[in-house]
Symmetry: C2
């Protein structure tokens, strides 16, 4: 009698294939025993519940094999084993204390052999959750009257007059890859689309080697007409994400458990109605906790982390909106506050102490837009098409952008954004 443990695909099916010599020939047993791990087989057999419980599996189903055919033979020695890739730090450490050294697969090796790494239950869970986040984003927005748009990623000159872009030659013209759909999504609003969203790649040529930056990621972007106040944009953020988190917790239990088994994390704490703090209030909270920050400057990563802790202690939430940012630290197209031009109609959103969303009302008055561009040191001649878009009648509007990979990373409390991108791109990685 030969027992062959077939790896469960994903984590939905778990079974043990028992080859019984009274049912199949000795040759089949030999054939099966010679199959390499991760080979794909077709099995015809009888599913039954064995009288003696099977050890080492979670499901007590046995397949009595009648026919077995190898569909795809894996190479005998794989670059990484799924069992190794699926192991948690805790297992490795416990084994070490018991005197056993288990293989730890590092992040780079995983990414080099992503096809194998993807097969772990945690990764099947992560990318299912990623799929759900995108799906819920669209579903919610569609139910609120938003329409999907697709804006070009190939842009003449250098986009947004901002930070590092990937440059290329476009049929003899200088071009670059879009750093965000910002300008085009605003143009769509000027083109009479009242509420739009986009899901698409965003390119950043920055030399950031952190746990939270990628050179290419999936941007979830929203832009909408504002009827009265920029809080309408925050209302969308609030309801969109509370709906999304509720759904993930409810419908992705198995996937979240699979992620948690390998990468333990606490469920995200969030309120039914998302907390909104004014920037000034945030600064005051930090001050009271002994952290002095410039009231008209930006928060650094450390202050953001600290404020996240303070907010969690005081309000019991790890998801909140900080709004009315100082004008000086926002892009030129951000609308100043009408009652105090040192501040702006803008906001950031934080999960677990990390910034995840940036949003604002935009300047829709061409004269003010020119003035703000000049004040920010931008050559107005390089953005004439953009500014001209507002000369044909432009409604007040605003929006926000969020990175898909960051949402998944922070919701699942993961420590590296490379875990939530199928084939990540960073300053050192362009393959596979």
């Amino acid at each position: 009698m030969a027992f062959v443990v077939v790896r469960q695909k994903g984590f939905t099916v778990q079974c043990v294939v028992t080859v019984q010599p009274d049912l199949v020939s000795r040759q089949m047993v030999k054939f099966v025993a010679g199959l390499s791990r991760e080979s794909i087989i077709d099995v015809q057999g009888l599913v039954s519940v064995p009288s003696v419980p099977i050890k080492g599996t979670t499901q007590q189903v046995e397949v009595q094999v009648r026919k077995l055919h190898c569909i795809s033979k894996a190479m005998p020695t794989l670059p990484i084993n799924i069992e190794d890739a699926a192991r948690s730090e805790k297992e490795i450490e416990e084994a070490l204390q018991a005197g056993e050294q288990l293989v730890r697969v590092n992040q780079d090796t995983r990414l080099n052999y992503r096809v194998l790494d993807m097969r772990t239950p945690a990764n099947q869970g992560i990318f299912h959750i990623q799929h759900e986040v995108g799906s819920l984003f669209r579903k919610f927005l569609q139910s609120e009257g938003f329409e999907e748009i697709h804006t070009p990623k190939l842009i003449a000159g250098t986009s947004e007059g901002g930070s590092a872009v990937f440059k290329l030659d476009y049929k003899g013209q200088p071009a670059c890859l879009a750093q965000s759909p910002q300008l085009h999504k605003q143009m769509a609003i000027c083109g009479d689309k009242e509420r739009v969203f986009e899901v698409g790649p965003v390119f950043r040529a920055e030399d950031s080697y952190t746990h939270r930056h990628l050179c290419e990621f999936v941007g979830l972007d929203v832009e909408m007409e504002i009827k009265k106040h920029y809080s309408e944009v925050m209302d969308i953020v609030d309801r969109l994400f509370v709906t999304m988190f509720d759904h993930l917790n409810e419908k992705c239990k198995k996937e979240l458990d699979a992620v948690r088994r390998q990468y333990p994390f606490e469920p995200l704490k969030y309120l039914r109605k998302t907390l909104r703090l004014r920037f000034e209030e945030g600064v005051q909270m930090l001050k009271e906790a002994g952290v002095e920050v410039d009231p008209y400057g930006d928060l650094n990563t450390e202050s953001e982390k600290k404020l996240g802790q303070l907010v969690l202690e005081k309000y019991g939430t790890e998801f909140y909106i900080l709004h009315r940012y100082p004008l000086a630290v926002r892009p030129f197209y951000t609308m100043p506050c009408y009652d105090d031009a040192k501040y702006s109609n803008s906001f950031d959103v934080f999960i677990r102490g990390e910034e995840i969303i940036s949003g604002a009302q935009r300047v829709h008055v061409p004269e003010l837009l020119e003035e703000r561009a000049k004040a920010c040191g931008i050559d107005v001649n390089t953005i004439t098409t953009y500014i001209d878009s507002f000369r044909y009648g432009a409604p007040p509007h605003g929006g926000f952008g969020v990175g898909l990979e960051r949402v998944v990373m922070l919701f699942c409390g993961l420590n590296n954004i490379r875990k939530t991108s199928l084939f990540p791109r960073d300053p050192l990685r362009l393959a596979p």
Copy 2:
């Protein structure tokens, strides 16, 4: 008394604002009369049905203005007028016959001022239909167990060893923009995702100046495990598109009418169960009609058009699948037919005589893949990561790809793909 006709936004709201001097001051009348076209106003007033029907509008509602505030002032002379941009060829010709010369806005001018051009009822319709096509694509596939993936657009070297790509420098490494998600979507299947789809930009640096080519378009891509036969992939195409066409005809009546008013077209003829013809049968039909084509070559645009006519006459459909293409005219990764290696497990799909979808079963056996690559003159060393993906156990699989802009163009019988891309990119156009 002053009548001010406010342009209807999109085509959902139509109204006439009547300013009555007994209700408002003379100053307001003067202010309103001085407002430039396309300016955006907030109006407070009483909606009523006038006793005397209003001429020249389709909706008989009057707003008796109490307060009026200009939100955004358009420049006095616009680069193009919406009335001109919304005019059909028929109107222009009828006017000409009556001795009146009306303005015709050409395609390039429209695209230069896309923000204004987008405001025509036809364009509001086209981009709503585009949104619906994307939405239906995802909804159908999700209901069939497909998950969305996002693959990188930045690729090391030159992608697929194929035609013209946009090249760029990636932190000192040679890179290019993905021509399709082909290799990565297959890798996702090898990574245990059974059924995946992607919606994302696709980049082609080809110098094609036709009505149907863009340098950047939105690819709708599908890849799936095959259990028994490549017809499973065609089954998905069949049901996906019939469901989509049904929905568009049913739910987008207003939008289709708006498109039709400016660009007249006949509704697409399609069958409940999509016709599948073998390539050999297509060749035979052409032969019988006096068109000789190479039975192991590809069809050119002209033969495709002709075959479309023949199929329409014989089967009464403008949407059909042609499958079992000659192996020699398909990419190296296409699975040969097991019963005749001169043919392949592949297909193209046609709408109104134009090819719109290309699909196939892929080679999942690494040795055969190497052999096929060599036979097609591809240096195997440049695609090792791709080939290696199949060495870890790979299921039989196949898929297809389709351009979003082409679906909308051909469903609506439009004559130019630039009409169905918000901000099109072709060899000569990189802006706005």
